[in-house]
C-alpha cells in the first residue's frame, strides 16, 4: 500500500484497476534468418491495426461527431502509407532484423523529420506518427491496443497528462476516474474531469513509478489522494465513503428543480461553464439555469484550419436550442496557454501578457467577424449573449463594439434575421478593467468576472508554477475588493454582473458573493448543487454581514479561516 498526494481536481471517489496511458513498449533488436516471415508478421499487424482504427473511428464518429473522428482518419492514412511500408520492409531486408525493431526505428525516423520542422503544427504530427507506430507494435507484441475510446472494462486512467484528444474520446461509462502526474486545479485535465463529472487527482508526482496497468487504486478526488494497492480495511472504508458520497449526490440532485434563492427570497442565477455542446448534458443534469460561459475556442482547437462560419453557427445554435435559459458565448480566447498551431502565432516570453484573446480578434478581424456573424445568426434560436475576453481598456471595448455594429449591418443587408436586442458583455479579468468598471459599464449590458486570470494578474502569480502557486489566492483581500468594486460600478449603470471563474463554484465564497450582490454564478456544472444548497440556507441579511466582516479582514488566511467556519 502507498499513498500519493496530489491536487483534488474533480470531486468523487473511484475504486478500480489502472490503465496507464503511454507506457513505454519494449522489444529486442535481433538478427533474423527468415526475412519473409517478418514481412508477413508486419502485414498481419498492419491489418489488425487497420481494423481497430476503423472500428474506433466509426464509434467516435457516431458518439462524438465527425470532427473528433478525423484524427483517426489521419492515423488510417499513415497505416496505408506506401512509403512507410516500403521503408520498414527495406530495413528488415537490408539489415536482416526483426520486424519490431525495423518498425520502431522507421517510425522514429519519420517522427524525427516532423519534430524538426519549425512549424508547431507539424511538430505535433510527430506524436500522431508515434501513436500509429505504437499501435502496430502492440499488435506485433500481442498486447492489447490502448485507446480511451474503445475500453472494454471499467478503468482508472493514469498518465503524465491527458491531452484534449484523449479527453475528447473518454467514455464516461467506462472511465471511473483520472489521475495524472502533472497539472493543477485549472489545468485542462482538471477542467475536463469536472465537466465530465469524473473524480480526478492531478499533480500526483510519484504516480507513474507506483502503478502499472492492472494495479488496483483508489482515487479520492475530494482529498486529492491516490491510494495504490489499498489494504482490505482501506477498501472497506472507501467503499463506505463512496456510498456516502453517492447518497449526498442524490440529496443534491433533489435540489435540481429548486430555485437558487435565499430563505428571504433573494434570487440569483446559477449557470454552467461549458467547452463543447457535449457538456450540456452535465449542465442540465445539475440544474443549470443557463450557460454563463461557452468557451468557443474548443471549436478552433484540434484541427488544421479555422472553423467556417457555418460550423460555428451549428454549434452555437445547438446549445441555444437545448438550454432554456441564457447562453453567454465568449468570443475566441486563444493565446496564453491555448495555442492554435495553424495560426502560427509567434512564441512569446510572456504569453499571458501577450498577443491573446480580444487582442488577436481586433487585429484578425476576418476571424472575429466570421465568429460574430455565426453568433448573431444563431441568436434567433435562444437567448444568446456575446462576451469579449481580456478587455483592458475602453478603446478596445469600443473597437469590438464597432466591429459588432458593422457585422450587424452586413447581416441586415444580406437579409439575415437575428436578435437585434442581443446583450453584449465583457469579461473582467484584467485589474485595469476592474478599476475602470464604471467607465466600461456604460458600453455593455453585463460583466462576467473571470477570476482565474484576475487572480493571476492581480497577485502577479503564475498559477501553474508550483514555487509560487501558494501566492495565487482567491481569498486575497485585493481580489475581494476588486469584485465589490466591479459589482457596485455595474449596478450603478444598470448592468448585471456574473462570475465565471473557479471562485464562483467554491461554496466557501458563496455567502460573500451573494452578500456583495453578484447576480449570476457560472461554474463547472458539478458544483451547482452544492452552491445552491449554501444559498438556500442563507438570508440576504446574513450574507451581507459576512461580506462586511470579510472586507474588514487583512489577510487571505484570516479570510479563508473565517469563511471556512461557515461550511
Amino acid at each position: 500500500m502507498s499513498k500519493i498526494n496530489g491536487v483534488a481536481a474533480s470531486p468523487g471517489i473511484a475504486i478500480g484497476e489502472v490503465l496507464v496511458l503511454e507506457e513505454e513498449l519494449s522489444y529486442d533488436r535481433v538478427k533474423v534468418e527468415d526475412v519473409a516471415k517478418e514481412k508477413i508478421k508486419l502485414e498481419e499487424a498492419m491489418s489488425a491495426s487497420k481494423k481497430q482504427l476503423t472500428a474506433i473511428k466509426e464509434k467516435v464518429k457516431a458518439e462524438m461527431g465527425s470532427e473528433q473522428a478525423e484524427i483517426f482518419q489521419a492515423h488510417l492514412m499513415v497505416l496505408d502509407d506506401p512509403e512507410l511500408i516500403s521503408a520498414i520492409e527495406n530495413k528488415i531486408e537490408a539489415e536482416a532484423i526483426n520486424v519490431e525493431a525495423a518498425l520502431g526505428e522507421t517510425i522514429e525516423e519519420f517522427a524525427t523529420i516532423f519534430s524538426n520542422m519549425d512549424n508547431e503544427y507539424m511538430k505535433e504530427r510527430a506524436s500522431d506518427i508515434r501513436d500509429v507506430g505504437d499501435r502496430i507494435l502492440r499488435n506485433l507484441l500481442g498486447l492489447e491496443a490502448q485507446s480511451v475510446a474503445d475500453l472494454e472494462q471499467e478503468v482508472i486512467l493514469i498518465a503524465d497528462d491527458l491531452t484534449p484528444s484523449d479527453t475528447a474520446q473518454v467514455d464516461k461509462e467506462q472511465v471511473l476516474g483520472f489521475a495524472t502526474k502533472i497539472g493543477g486545479r485549472t489545468s485542462h485535465t482538471a477542467i475536463m474531469a469536472r465537466s465530465l463529472g469524473i473524480p480526478a487527482v492531478v499533480g500526483a508526482k510519484e504516480l507513474l513509478e507506483a502503478v502499472e496497468t492492472g494495479t488496483t487504486v483508489i482515487v479520492d478526488g475530494v482529498a486529492g489522494v491516490v491510494i495504490v494497492e489499498p489494504t482490505e480495511e482501506q477498501l472497506a472504508e472507501y467503499q463506505e465513503k463512496l456510498a456516502d458520497y453517492q447518497k449526498r449526490q442524490e440529496r443534491l440532485t433533489k435540489l435540481k428543480e429548486l430555485p437558487a434563492e435565499t430563505e428571504d427570497g433573494h434570487r440569483v442565477e446559477l449557470a454552467a461553464n461549458i467547452g463543447t455542446p457535449a457538456d450540456l448534458d452535465s449542465a442540465l443534469e445539475n440544474g443549470a439555469e443557463g450557460i454563463g460561459l461557452y468557451r468557443s475556442e474548443f471549436l478552433y482547437m484540434d484541427r488544421e484550419s479555422l472553423p467556417t462560419e457555418e460550423e460555428q453557427f451549428e454549434a452555437y445554435k445547438e446549445v441555444a436550442e437545448r438550454i432554456d435559459g441564457p447562453t453567454v458565448i465568449r468570443t475566441l480566447d486563444i493565446g496564453g496557454d491555448k495555442e492554435l498551431s495553424y495560426l502560427d502565432l509567434p512564441d512569446e516570453m510572456n504569453p499571458f501578457l501577450g498577443y491573446r484573446a480580444i487582442r488577436i480578434s481586433l487585429e484578425r478581424t476576418d476571424i472575429f467577424k466570421a465568429q460574430l456573424r455565426a453568433i448573431l445568426r444563431a441568436s434567433r434560436y435562444g437567448q444568446i449573449k456575446i462576451m469579449y475576453p481580456m478587455i483592458s481598456s475602453l478603446e478596445e471595448l469600443q473597437a469590438a463594439n464597432q466591429i459588432l455594429a458593422e457585422v450587424k449591418e452586413d447581416l441586415t443587408k444580406e437579409g439575415f434575421d437575428f436578435n437585434r436586442e442581443l446583450e453584449v458583455g465583457m469579461m473582467i479579468e484584467v485589474p485595469a478593467a476592474a478599476m475602470i468598471a464604471d467607465l466600461l459599464a456604460k458600453e455593455v449590458d453585463f460583466f462576467s468576472i473571470g477570476t482565474n486570470d484576475l487572480i493571476q494578474y492581480t497577485t502577479a502569480t503564475d498559477r501553474m508554477n508550483e514555487h509560487v502557486a501558494v501566492l495565487y489566492q482567491p481569498f486575497h483581500p485585493a481580489i475581494l475588493r476588486l469584485i465589490k468594486r466591479v459589482v457596485e460600478a455595474a449596478h450603478k449603470h444598470d448592468s448585471w454582473v456574473g462570475m465565471c471563474g473557479e471562485m464562483a463554484g467554491d461554496r466557501r465564497l458563496t455567502p460573500f458573493l451573494v452578500g456583495v450582490g453578484l447576480d449570476e454564478f457560472s461554474m463547472s456544472a458539478v458544483s451547482i448543487p452544492e452552491v445552491k444548497e449554501v444559498i438556500r440556507n442563507l438570508t440576504i441579511q446574513q450574507a451581507k454581514e459576512i461580506t462586511d466582516q470579510v472586507l474588514s479582514l487583512s489577510t487571505s488566511q484570516k479570510i479563508e479561516d473565517f469563511l471556512g467556519s461557515y461550511c
Binding site: 502509407d81 512509403e83 507539424m122 495553424y342
Partner: protein, 87 residues
C-alpha cells in the same frame, strides 16, 4: 512524363487534411505521381511524404507523373491543389 506547376491556395499550406485529399485523389490513378518542391520530391500517394515536404501557402510546387494515365493524374492533382481544398 507529364508535369505541371501549381501554386498552393490552401490558407494553411498542405497539412494533414489537404495531404489526405491528395493521397485519395492520387490513388485513383495507376501512374507514379510525385510532388516536387525545390530539390525535394515526395510520393503523392504517401501522406507522410507529402506532409514532410512542409509546403506552406502560396508556394509553387510541381506535380509530375509517369505512367499510362499520367495526363489525367497531373490534371486532377493540380486542380485539387489549386482549388484550396474547398476550405
Amino acid at each position: 512524363m507529364t508535369e505541371e506547376q501549381v501554386i498552393v491556395a490552401s490558407s494553411a499550406g498542405i497539412h494533414a487534411r489537404p495531404a489526405s485529399l491528395i493521397v485519395q485523389e492520387a490513388n485513383n490513378y495507376q501512374s507514379e505521381i510525385k510532388l516536387v518542391k525545390d530539390d525535394n520530391e515526395a510520393n503523392a500517394k504517401s501522406i507522410m511524404g507529402i506532409m514532410s515536404l512542409g509546403v506552406s501557402q502560396q508556394t509553387e510546387i510541381t506535380v509530375r507523373a509517369e505512367g499510362e494515365d499520367e495526363k489525367e493524374a497531373v490534371t486532377a492533382v493540380v486542380e485539387l491543389i489549386a482549388s484550396g481544398f474547398d476550405e
